[in-house]
């Protein structure tokens, strides 16, 4: 077993492949000769195999919130199934806190899952024969916690997701959004260090979703877990992520901070994701900083590193005086301040 390394990234994925189909391992080995990753994938597809994850390389730092985005079927769920070794990757390596998880024994895996890993499933994966509280307490039961302790903890996390009072109902009697929250509560029950979330807010209405996102950021600010978070929603990704990975057809096409994704998409596919995003709200001034310093500049509007483009623009506008507004006949009927104009365009958020 690899010795534990405190400076190691929480998750390190190297050249990870997941190919579905018969004899995937040997087919992949044979296909390696075909050339680059694209050629390999094409060779596999020609044999009617599905390369659901191909040659993935990335790291998730300890305490980082790593978001995976991509169209439906691009291999996001498969990726986290590989990392958590719910399915056996066809090739490559996955290290969790420096430990090669693909080499871990069954016993070690059970141990890791009991104490270190948590997962929220895309379709919730609730146990139909257990009450909400029993569902939430199930991981604790696996840890060997006593009945009273389990119940207390279950109620605690259920309260966290706003489901107090529903603990004794069965999943079938809950709405989709409520079920999703039970799934979240269950994965929180053992307080995992590393947390996999597969579209955890997808079934929620916008209001609750926003609320849970904020709650989620709060939890993250205090607990500093290492998180892999899957979403379809670019706004959600930008709001939560430290870094974002964009997947297409099993391939990671770009990894970067929200800002990099929005301002410097590597190709049209990535650009398409952030098409509707108001860039000024997410990008900071340093992203467009000029190389040299010009000789004469107007009065200093007080722009600082780290300010979003929107805020910076408003600041600049403050330098101007109010300007006239005319009616159809061309008579002046009032005035607006450019600063107000910029302000109004900016959303209420800071």
């Amino acid at each position: 077993m690899t010795d534990k390394n405190s400076t190691a990234p929480a998750i390190a994925v190297e050249d990870l492949w997941q190919v579905f189909g018969e004899n995937a391992t040997s087919a992949l080995r044979d296909a390696r000769g075909a050339g680059d990753d694209k050629a390999i994938a094409q060779t596999l597809k020609d044999k009617t195999l599905i390369p659901a994850v191909r040659a993935a390389n990335f790291e998730v730092k300890s305490g980082e919130l790593f978001v995976i985005m991509g169209l439906s079927g691009s291999g996001k769920s498969t990726m986290i199934r590989c990392i958590s070794r719910l399915i056996e990757p066809t090739a490559g390596s996955v290290r969790i806190d420096g430990e090669d998880i693909l080499q871990a024994s069954d016993k070690r895996l059970i141990d890791l899952r009991r104490h270190k890993l948590g997962m929220v499933f895309q379709h919730f994966g609730l146990f139909p024969h257990m009450t909400v509280a029993d569902n939430v307490a199930f991981p604790l039961k696996m840890q060997g916690a006593g009945k009273a302790e389990r119940r207390a903890r279950a109620l605690e996390v259920l309260q966290m997701v706003g489901l107090e009072g529903r603990e004794d109902t069965y999943p079938r009697n809950l709405s989709g959004g409520q079920r999703q929250r039970v799934g979240i509560a269950r994965s929180l029950a053992v307080n995992p260090d590393i947390w996999f979330l597969d579209e955890p807010f997808s079934a929620l209405d916008p209001l609750i979703r926003r609320q849970l996102q904020d709650e989620f950021l709060n939890i993250q600010a205090t607990l500093k877990k290492s998180i892999v978070f899957i979403t379809h929603d670019i706004q959600e990704a930008l709001k939560l992520a430290d870094r974002i990975a964009i997947m297409r057809d099993g391939e990671i096409v770009q990894i970067g901070t929200p800002e990099e994704i929005v301002l410097h998409p590597v190709d049209d596919y990535v650009a398409e994701f952030s098409k509707d995003v108001p860039k000024g709200r997410h990008a900071c001034v340093e992203s467009i900083l000029m190389d040299g310093i010009p000789d004469n500049m107007p009065d200093d509007p007080g722009i600082k590193i780290g300010m979003t483009l929107d805020t910076a623009l408003t600041k600049c506008m403050e330098l101007y005086e109010p300007v006239p507004v005319r009616n159809a006949e061309g008579n002046v009927i009032g005035a607006v301040h450019p600063h107000e104009l910029a302000n109004a365009l900016q959303a209420e958020e800071t």
Binding site: R81, S84, L86, I110, D111, L112, R113, R114, H115, L117, G118, M119, F121, Q122, H123, F124, G125, L126, F127, P128, H129, M130, F138, P139, K141, M142, Q143, G183, R186, S187
Partner: protein, 690 residues
């Protein structure tokens, strides 16, 4: 295949031969060969006795040795099982009936409210009044011990197949065998192993009832949602925890369906196993009264079986459905009333083993049947004779032998043979002219079967014919399987009996396909029809096989025709159900598209629904075939001469080898027929992209 080419070129048109017509032409060639040369070379028609292998003797020797080894273990098992059986039997008999009735009523209430409570109460009260209470309880005691055995065995097999996918193929094959080999066949070795007595019936019924449980456990486990499975993994459960805390409970509904089927199978088998006797149970009662032609008592005893079956079925089926919790107080109330009645009954000295208030009824039924048969005897006889002389008999021994002056009014001569083939040739020429080669060839083959009869078919025709059908429906592999398996029967010397089985089952399946298909069509067209037919189908599927014999015997006495009717009654149900289901479950959009194109009701039915329903209907046919073979063995009790009869003979003579060989031959027939039809169903499904 030069003969085939000659035929197709003789048609004078360029025809591209489909797989079907190629196969048909090949069979026709075999038919011609056998028909024309059969007179010179007798071995072409009849497998020479010198070449038969004494398989039954080998079996006796082989299995005998095997049985001797396991006998001590088996006897110990008998010894161990006989205790719980006696205890349960004693308990069920010792508890006064008012208490038992109350308990079942209370259970019914807890499971399904007032409806099932009423069912339990009325049903058991009926049993009380028939006077067969203690026999009934003895039967239940057998069921009560064999079912847990079957459940554990089935669950273990199902879990094993799920946990080790590599074993799945083997397990499925084993389950197929356990279900297709007629139970009577393994009753003999079981008798040798476990000794004479009710324990054998119990074990036989456990073996028979385990497969449905195993299949449903496997199916249920396979259907557990991946994410539920994964959630258990991610919670850090060990494999055993995952299985027992999550996967099995999540599969409860499917497993309960298995429990229901297991119960029904066990009950059915316990009744059948009564033929070995030795236990004063209800099956024995039915058999005895039937043998003595006491139709009233037979009818009542049969009704008791039916009542048990319905109660057990409905209650265990209700367990598989999600339900509302019921008020416990009511259940306690029912039990209290039961206790009160018990005390009163004891004080008043009611007979502990039922009231037998229906002896009068039994006599009445008896007399009724007597009057009925006396009044309508001629009608019944003429139904029977017409079907025999103009339907079954010609099918069995061919027109050439069945047509006699005594029945048909003239004797069959060469002239008639020529006429038969002449007509067939004419029709087939017309068909060829229309480009329908397969149908044309089939007409000729059918003419041959009509002349010779199924029982006299030359063995190459049957074996190669089955191979050809297999080739069309599932390729070389299936063809090989069919040929090899049937050849085994051929060399075992059971061939003639097997052909008789084939004839009777075939006749019944054909009748069921026609009647069941029409009834299915009717219930697909009219909801009223289905409202009437559905409970009848439910009823026919609930009652144990054995009971079918009673009404048939009452009206048509012992004989092949009665057996035929009994088989049809039982085997027609799946045909009705699947036909209707296939026809009504065509996707709405397709129907709408047809309606939008201006198709009428019947047009939609035949142009759209029927092709779409074909795979489902074929599955129904498949079920009908298996049902027919299952019933064939039971029907042998009332007079047939085929393999089933042989199995009974073996049972009577305690002949292990004969029992197993005849049972295996029967199973082979069922298995081959099953695979052939399944191949066609699969092909249709793929063609429709389902």
């Amino acid at each position: 295949m030069s003969a085939t080419e000659a035929v197709s070129q003789g048609a004078g048109r360029r025809l591209s031969l489909t797989r079907g017509s190629q196969a048909a032409l090949f069979v026709l060639a075999v038919v011609l060969l056998c028909r024309l040369l059969g007179a010179q070379f007798e071995w072409l028609v009849k497998w020479p006795a010198a070449l038969t292998v004494p398989m039954a003797d080998w079996m006796t020797w082989l299995v005998g040795g095997f049985l001797d080894v396991f006998k001590p273990i088996a006897r110990t098992f008998t010894f161990l099982v006989s205790y719980p059986m006696e205890w349960v039997g004693w308990l069920l008999n010792a508890v006064p009936w008012p208490m038992t009735v109350a308990a079942v009523t209370a259970i019914g209430w807890m499971i399904g409210g007032i409806r099932l409570a009423a069912l339990g109460f009325l049903g058991l009260m009926f049993v009380v009044f028939t006077g067969y209470w203690s026999q009934g309880m003895n039967t239940l005691a057998l069921v009560a011990v064999s079912v847990p055995l079957a459940l554990v065995m089935g669950a273990a097999i199902g879990i094993l197949a799920f946990e080790y996918p590599r074993m799945k193929g083997a397990v499925n094959a084993l389950l197929d065998i356990m279900q297709t080999v007629p139970t009577f066949a393994y009753l003999v070795p079981l008798l040798v192993l476990f000794g004479f007595g009710p324990v054998v019936g119990l074990i036989a019924s456990a073996i028979y009832a385990a497969p449905p449980m195993a299949r449903n456990v496997l199916l249920g486990l396979e259907r557990v949602d991946t994410e539920i499975r994964e959630a258990a993994v991610m919670s850090g459960g060990t494999r055993r925890q995952q299985l027992f805390l999550v996967e099995l409970p999540a599969a409860t509904q499917q497993i309960m369906i298995g429990v229901n089927q297991c119960l029904m199978a066990a009950l059915s088998m316990v009744i059948i196993a009564a033929v070995i006797g030795g236990f004063d149970d209800i099956g024995w009662e039915v058999l005895q009264t039937m043998r003595k032609a006491l139709f009233g008592p037979a009818f009542l005893a049969g009704s008791v079986v039916v009542v048990f079956a319905i109660i057990i079925d409905r209650m265990s089926a209700a367990l598989a459905e999600p339900r509302q919790p019921q008020n416990r107080t009511v259940a306690y109330g029912i039990l209290a009333v039961g206790a009160a009645v018990t005390i009163w009954a004891v004080l008043a000295g009611w007979p502990p083993s039922g009231v037998a208030a229906m002896d009068g009824l039994a006599k009445r039924v008896d007399e009724g049947v007597g009057v009925f048969t006396a009044t309508y005897g001629t009608t019944l006889d003429s139904i029977k004779n017409t079907s025999m002389f103009y339907g079954l008999l010609p099918l069995r021994i061919g027109l050439a032998e069945a047509v006699l002056p005594f029945t048909w009014g003239f004797a069959w001569t060469v002239k008639h043979t020529a006429m038969l083939y002449g007509a067939a040739l004419l029709i087939s020429l017309i068909l060829i002219f229309k480009g329908r080669v397969t149908a044309a060839v089939m007409v000729l083959i059918i003419a041959y079967i009509a002349e010779i009869g199924v029982a006299h078919l030359a063995w190459p025709v049957v074996i190669l014919g089955a191979g050809a059908i297999g080739w069309v429906s599932g390729g070389w592999k299936l063809a090989r399987l069919a040929v090899i398996l049937l050849s085994l029967i051929l060399i075992s010397g059971l061939w003639e009996r097997a052909l008789l089985s084939l004839y009777l089952a075939g006749a019944a399946v054909f009748a069921c396909a026609v009647i069941g298909g029409l009834l299915g069509l009717w219930s697909a067209m009219s909801t009223t029809a289905w409202m009437v037919l559905r409970p009848i189908c439910d009823f026919l599927q609930t009652i144990p096989l054995f009971v079918f014999l009673i009404p048939v015997l009452m009206f048509f006495q012992i004989g092949e025709f009665s057996a035929f009717i009994a088989i049809c009654m039982y085997a027609v149900v799946p045909m009705i159900r699947y036909t209707r289901h296939g026809l009504v479950s065509t996707p709405d959009e397709i129907i709408e598209a047809a309606t939008a194109s201006g198709a009428g009701k019947w047009q939609t039915m035949f142009e759209v629904r029927a092709p779409f329903a074909a795979p489902t209907i074929l599955l129904g046919l498949n079920q009908t075939i298996l049902y027919a073979f299952a019933m064939l063995v039971i029907a042998a009790l009332i007079g047939t001469t085929e393999l089933g009869q042989l199995i009974f003979l073996a049972l009577g003579q305690y002949d292990v080898g004969l029992g197993i060989t005849a049972g295996a031959a029967m199973a082979i027939l069922a298995l081959v027929a099953d695979r052939l039809v399944q191949g066609f169903a699969e092909e249709r499904r793929q063609a429709l992209g389902l």
